[in-house]
């Protein structure tokens, strides 16, 4: 039954291991700058892919205009350097309003 539990525990253990890297290795090992950079860029690539698929797709189909436009609204707010909370609430509110207006 507990695929969920297994997932949480594996993710938790792995994440903690990553976090221990610093305190344990500190002063002994320095990550090569290139690797550090690759990790950073890789993380950004993952996040962008997540947000793109999250904004556009649901399962194997299109997520609908309400969500896509809402995320876009959040993006505009973020671009204009709105505070983090405003970005989040703005995106949700735009999507909610569109749905209220009957946009899927």
């Amino acid at each position: 039954m507990n695929a969920y539990l297994a997932c949480v525990l594996v993710l938790a253990a792995g994440t903690y291991a990553f976090r221990l890297a610093g305190p344990l290795l500190h002063g002994r090992v320095e990550l090569p700058a290139r690797l550090q950079e690759l990790l950073t860029v890789g993380a950004t690539v993952l996040l962008v892919a997540l947000l793109a698929t999250g904004a556009l797709t649901e399962g194997h189909g299109f997520a609908g205009w309400a969500r896509t436009i809402g995320v876009l609204a959040g993006g505009v707010l973020a671009w204009r350097k709105a505070p983090f909370a405003v970005v989040v609430v703005g995106a949700a509110a735009a999507t909610a309003l569109l749905r209220l207006a009957g946009v899927a």
Binding site: V8, L11, T15, A21, T40, T44, G54, G74, F84, L98
Partner: protein, 276 residues
Amino acid sequence: MRSSHRTESPPERTNEGFVRLSHLPRGVLRDIALVWLADAVVGVSFGAIAVAGGLPVWVPVLMSLLVYAGSAQFSAVGILAAGGGPVAAAATGLLLNSRTAAFSLAVADSLGRSRAARFLGAHLITDETAAFVLAQPDQKRRKAAFWISGLGLFAVWNVSVLGGALAGSVIGDTARFGLDAAFPAVLLALVLPALRADSMTRRAAAAGAVIAVAAAPVLPAGVPVLLALLGLLAARRGPGPRSRSGPRSESGSGSRSGRAVGRRGPSRTAAPGSDS
């Protein structure tokens, strides 16, 4: 579990001591509080979205306690809720969290020397705490920034996730409130500074996003996002990737090994104006 044995090596505790609020300037404390507030909103939506996606309440709650990493939690829950399976969910989350290793190297000496500080502190390393630590000028303030922002964020995050999960199970249809748009928007706000700062990152991210979206209709959930890493190759072959080797730490405060953080770290915190 066993808190019985005291620190065996008092000499190591030189220059240590308890962290106090007064160790940080007011402006920094205000920024930290703003980030707590922002993350509370995100935490509530995480809890609510997870439950709305069909997961039992304990999944987001336990995950928040043990994994404690916003974007990885969102992606893992998204994949689980979409039926992508626990393996894809854990793998994606781990990949996302691998960056934490770089952060932890960067902030390692701000946790304190004792074994307990290092092992407990490790769990509190996040994008946010790393950003706050690296923005502080000296060791005392770094340590204070780490523990104050870290402990507070941990408490705020877990309480708000629990609240969101309970609310979500009452509310039922969170789509009505547009919460499904919140997560992509959060990520967008997170990555925007990194995208602004570096064209190589932009190319890689754009290529990766196109790959992921194109693959989403045909591949199981979770896999398209992993495929996006191919975007790294595309960007490397792009025109002028060599220019990457140029110095890029434009933030003056990142004098230490904070290069990676310098670009990514402040992303979330930058919004409430941590540059003060």
